[in-house]
Amino acid sequence: MMKKKLYIFILMLLPALSFAQNEVYKRYSPQQDLTVAQVSGFALNDSVRVDVVLVVADDNAAWERVKKELDIRGDSGSTSWLGEFTDPAKRTGWNGRTALRVVASHARRTVAFYRIDSERQYDALLDYQLRKMKKQ
């Protein structure tokens, strides 16, 4: 009877869990000089969605701190890499495990973290970038 109640409780929690705040958001949102937003379910195409965390530095000091923390070099343009989920500063290759596509823009003083959980999301993200770039 207890086991059945537990299953029912977990089933009822599932819809709420699908929109939980992620680790990157929790890590940066308490910092006073950063504006942090999480977009859950950002659509890459009709069937693939990812979670995105956007970190915007409010001033130069905050931006320099973020750059140092994520090992972002240079002062202009943008840079992107695939980072480890637990340590986004660490550059990695796609190995089928959860990772973060990190895009940093100096002009916007912004870093975007796209959470990639599957090959399908990884392909869709690259495809999205290609599609949009062709349009430009």
């Binding site: 956007l54 943008s78 916007r108 912004t110 975007a112 430009q136």
Partner: protein, 89 residues
């Protein structure tokens, strides 16, 4: 039938009779409380799932995103647009 067998049978009949008398004092759903609770829980799950599914399907795809922000006064669409623009950087 021996006397012992008769006694045993008599006790069984009495037990069933008292069981029925006891049960008659309660409404049917209380007698089957475990079953009623299970059915209620299942109905609740079906209802919650239906509401979540319908509300999800009714949303236009552009506004499906759920946005959290640590600052008040920002608009959700601004962040969705920024998420798209950052991929073009």
């Amino acid at each position: 039938m021996t006397e012992n067998q008769f006694d045993e049978l008599w006790q069984q009949v009495e037990a069933r009779k008292y069981g029925r008398m006891l049960a008659a004092g309660y409404p049917a759903w209380k007698r089957n409380r475990r079953r009623a609770l299970t059915v209620a829980a299942m109905l609740l799950i079906v209802l919650v799932t239906a509401v979540v599914t319908v509300s999800t399907l009714q949303r236009p795809s552009a506004s499906f995103e759920k946005v959290y922000c640590n600052r008040v006064g920002t608009s959700d669409s601004q962040w969705v647009a920024l998420a798209a623009e950052m991929l073009m950087e």
